[in-house]
């Protein structure tokens, strides 16, 4: 039964923080500092590594992702994606079946170009061996894919199937994280994000047994990126 | 900027004073050879044992004494990275919030130097005239390395010692396990650390181990000897000053010294 004067945990913690800082929380200058920083989101130190022309940026993206045990191939246009997916599955003796998201960029791919490929649409329930997603962006700085959750790109496709194929537009490869963050803000608005943003750099791995690095811990064993078009 | 003819207050350090004065004499010689006047005011200790044991009051009292005794010199030089670190880096911290003493501590701190760094960085000494034929290896004491950036200077001067070759040991910059009171409060952990260090020293095949801090040197010498490893241990100042007639640390007296 609550006493009227009893402080909630929230009140207790805030009071304790404010006492420690010597403030009451109503000070206008402090509030302005905080509001300004959130609104202004200054960038800090941005590595220059990815600040290079588009072709070199693409090459850096490939190099970094391959260094993290991902595989990358380039195709000229979306028309070649089904063939590339088929070749990937055959290369690893996998059944010619993929689960993909409903993303428009994947829907507009001519899947019939690879007629023997079974394509189903939706999230994964753990029974699929291979999935195909479309990336929101790539970051050349570290070879990272930025995947945004949505009905068109269910998160489970990124984690449950053993083999994850990601289609990435060459023109969506950014030099650094700050640019990708700005892109997220453009799409989702200030202070807003989709339910989850997965930044993925290679296939799943663990080094927990005697520091020996092994791929395929809980997430996909293979990550294959198909870069489409010119940067 | 060559600073010659300067008056140096030599802070010998309590370990050198008690256990190995030859290091003090070697330091004095190096400084005098480089054109300084060396003075040794009455001193006891820099206060680290009290400081690292949490006794700030005693540490402050000692610091005031030291500053009083030494602040009149142009420079304060010690053959020890950890003592110099205490004087230069930590003394000012002790007087935080005390406007009078803090200013004195800051001024004092600016004059404090580790010996080899003083020779190379301030006096611009480029070579020594010593002979020390043989293979040596060098241990970087933690305070000298991390608080004072002493690393290249001893190697530079050792490179000019005639007949001397330097073989770097694995993990030269890793702690030897001395840590002041640590080695007696946690002797088994300290032993584990110094055992690794002794193995690395022995693996170089060097006949002599050098460093710039007597505490580290005593610790490593003590372990090497307990393990029966035939490595002489000396302070780098002794070699640079060409004053190696004394037995190495923990070494037996020679017949003619009795």
């Amino acid at each position: 039964m609550e006493e009227p004067h009893e402080m909630s945990a929230r009140d207790t913690i805030f009071a304790s923080i404010r006492a420690a800082l010597g403030v009451n929380g109503h000070e206008a200058p402090r509030k302005k500092i905080v509001a300004d920083r959130i609104a202004g989101h200054p960038a800090g130190v941005v590595p220059q590594r990815g600040n290079i022309p588009p072709k070199e940026r693409l090459a850096l993206f490939v190099k970094m992702l391959e260094g993290a045990a991902g595989t990358v191939q380039a195709v000229a246009s979306a028309d070649e994606v089904p063939g590339a997916v088929g070749a990937f599955l055959r290369r690893h003796n996998l059944p010619l079946a993929i689960r993909r998201g409903g993303d428009e960029k994947l829907s507009s791919v001519p899947w019939s170009n690879e007629p023997s490929l079974e394509v189903s649409i939706g999230p994964s329930d753990g029974k699929q061996l291979a999935s195909v997603s479309h990336a929101f962006a790539g970051v050349a700085e570290t070879g990272t894919l930025v995947m945004t959750a949505s009905p068109d790109n269910p998160t489970t496709l990124n984690f449950l199937p053993d083999n994850h194929v990601v289609v990435l537009d060459a023109r969506d490869i950014r030099g650094d994280f700050e640019t990708a963050i700005a892109n997220l803000r453009e799409k989702y608005g200030e202070g807003a994000l989709p339910r989850v943003v997965n930044m993925i750099t290679g296939p799943s791995r663990s080094a927990d047994i005697e520091q020996t690095l092994i791929l395929g811990a809980h997430g996909p064993r293979r990550l294959h990126v198909i870069v489409v078009g010119e940067p | 900027m060559v600073e010659r003819g300067k008056r140096v207050g030599l802070f010998v350090t309590c370990l050198v004073d008690l256990i190995r004065p030859s290091v003090g004499f070697a330091a004095a010689k190096l400084l005098e050879d480089a054109g300084c006047t060396v003075d040794v005011p009455l001193q006891s200790c820099c206060g680290q044992p009290a400081f690292n044991s949490g006794d700030r009051q005693t540490t402050r009292a000692i610091a005031e004494q030291v500053i009083d005794a030494f602040e009149g010199y142009d420079y304060v030089v010690a053959p020890s990275g950890s003592c110099t670190g205490m004087l230069k880096v930590h003394y000012p911290e002790l007087f935080e919030g005390d406007p009078n003493w803090r200013a004195r501590a800051d001024a004092f701190s600016a004059k404090c130097y580790e010996l080899v760094s003083f020779l190379v960085d301030v006096l611009r000494v480029e070579r020594v005239s010593a002979h020390f034929p043989g293979n040596v290896t060098y241990h970087d004491s933690c305070s000298g390395l991390r608080e004072l950036e002493v690393h290249a200077q001893p190697r530079r001067l050792l490179g000019t010692v005639q007949g001397l070759t330097l073989t770097e040991m694995k993990d030269a910059d890793v702690c030897c396990g001395f840590g002041g009171t640590f080695c007696v409060k946690y002797p088994d952990i300290s032993n584990a650390i110094v055992t690794k260090k002794a193995a690395n020293v022995a693996a170089t095949g060097a006949q002599t181990l050098l460093a710039g801090d007597l505490g580290c040197l005593m610790n490593m010498a003590g372990k090497l000897q307990r393990e029966g490893k035939a490595v002489d241990v000396r302070h780098v100042a002794e070699v640079l000053a060409g004053m190696t007639s004394e037995p190495p640390i923990g070494g037996p007296a020679r017949g003619d010294n009795l």
Binding site: H41, Q48, T155, F159, V196 | S22, A28, A50, C142, P187
Partner: protein
């Protein structure tokens, strides 16, 4: 409740650790791998040092405005359909988590690695209340089946050899053939993956920690290499985030600054495989994701640290670089520290959280070599903070009586240089008398701590100062 500690038995723990052959073998790997990899990846990034400064500054700024950022964060989380709960201490955090689980009739809970989870003892608490928690990070899973605390904040099972893990898997995975071949680590990983995949899919609630909380968007970030954190939070009905108050950073850009130094400092990677930013429960149109998103914000002593000498410790981002470089950690491993947080960061944080009377050994068991501070991505002056603990101990008369007496004895002379010189001259002559021909002592009265493992050198007859006085000029 906050898990019990064996920190008061640090010396005993250390002695056992030094004699533990398996542990010593495993620790060699820490010394070699983590240090080299961090150096390589730092060398590859010209902006690394500047990023460390930036990370430190972001944390300092956030801490100075923590109440306001926390408030902004809570508002954003709520706006996205998530719920923020506050817990003053470990007990409260556990009760809140249990209530969330009970409301959903949860039977099993999967867990991503969470040091806060260890700190509050959530696993034992859930078990005691009839709910089965399953650790999904491979290292945490291994120690869970061994009923141990993690020995390292990034690599919880780093103290074990492959042979030990194999033995544990055989003992626990009884549904598999007893004589199966497990020579290769790959087979062990595959086995763990299969066992845990079933748990992921069956879990009712997923609990993770958070590497950072972002005020701007009301998000939590987790960083893994395995993907277990993602499966933990995506598949069940509810996702519970356990986070302490100092996990906050203001904006997405600030999180990018922090992430760049975190992965490099922790594992020598440019970026961890999975860095996931979660914001609220599944949206109406989402096809997957948790139906509920809860964040339990824990204080447990941290707000008290904000106003005092140990405030800088709140910058810690739990990368583990300090323990990877610590000669004491290399000698005794993480369990010797006796609680959740080992190594230098544990030595500073543990007394704040469980009390100096219990954890006093930890900040004392350091040589102050300074390597930890040298590599800390947010530049925490760890040796200085450890020294502050020693000062507290001294003031409160917590150090052993013999140590205090010895110090008092020494101080009496050190403060009187003339007397000191007199006494040391006598000591020099006396020791030399006994020691000079052999040059050293195998044993000295009162110096047992030294001579147990080392020889002690003989002095050189007289003190330097007395010889200097007689020097002819």
């Amino acid at each position: 409740m906050t898990g019990a500690s064996t920190s008061p038995q640090f010396k005993d723990n250390a002695r056992k650790a030094l004699a533990d052959v398996n542990l010593q073998t495993a620790l060699k790997v820490v010394e070699v791998n983590f240090i080299a990899r961090r150096q390589e990846v730092a060398d590859r990034l010209p902006e690394f040092e500047a990023l460390r400064d930036s990370a430190r500054d972001i944390k300092n700024h956030t801490l100075a405005h923590l109440d306001l950022y926390l408030d902004a964060y809570e508002q954003r989380v709520t706006a996205q359909g998530g719920k923020v709960h506050y817990a003053v201490d470990a007990d409260e955090a556990c009760r809140i988590a249990l209530e969330i689980c009970r409301k959903l009739d949860a039977r099993t809970v999967t867990k991503g690695k969470s040091m806060i989870g260890e700190e509050i003892g959530i696993n034992a608490f859930l078990e005691a209340n009839g709910i089965t928690p399953v650790e999904t990070d491979l290292g945490e899973y291994i120690i869970q089946i061994r009923n141990e605390l993690p020995s390292h904040i990034i690599a919880p099972a780093v103290h074990l050899t492959k042979a030990q893990v194999e033995a544990d898997f055989r003992r626990v995975h009884t549904h598999l053939p007893a004589d199966r071949n497990m020579v290769e680590p790959e087979t062990m990983l595959a086995e763990a993956r299969a066992v845990l995949r079933e748990k992921f899919l069956a879990a009712d609630v997923g609990i993770t920690g958070a590497n950072f909380l972002i005020a701007e968007t009301g998000s939590s970030i987790i960083v893994t290499n395995e993907g277990n954190g993602d499966l933990t939070q995506t598949l069940p009905k509810a996702h519970i985030v356990l986070a302490s108050i100092e996990k906050l950073v203001p904006t997405l850009e600030d999180s990018a600054q922090m992430l760049r130094v975190l992965a490099r400092s922790a594992t020598g990677q440019e970026m961890s495989v999975y860095t996931t930013i979660s914001t609220g429960p599944r949206r109406m149109q989402d096809l997957d994701g948790p139906g509920e998103y809860h964040v339990i914000i824990l204080d447990n002593g941290r707000s008290a640290m904000l106003g005092g000498q140990f405030r800088e410790m709140l910058r810690c981002i739990r990368c583990g670089a300090c323990m990877n470089h610590c000669p004491v950690y290399h000698a005794v491993g993480g369990h010797a520290y006796g609680w959740v947080y080992p190594g230098p960061m544990g030595a500073v944080l543990t007394p704040s959280l469980i009390g100096l009377d219990k954890a006093g050994n930890l900040p004392n068991a350091s040589t102050f070599c300074g390597r930890c501070e040298e590599v800390c991505p947010v530049r925490i002056p760890l040796p200085k903070l450890m020294r502050h603990w020693r000062e507290r101990e001294f003031e409160r008369h917590l150090s052993p009586a013999t140590v205090r007496a010895g110090l008092r004895f020494w101080s009496f002379f050190a403060r009187r240089p003339r007397l000191y010189s007199f006494v040391t001259e006598i000591a020099a002559r006396a020791l030399t008398f006994f020691g000079h021909s052999r040059g050293r002592f195998g044993w000295l009265p009162l110096a047992g701590g030294w001579t147990k493992h080392r020889e002690f050198p003989s002095p050189q007859g007289r003190t330097f100062q007395s010889q200097w006085k007689n020097r002819t000029r």
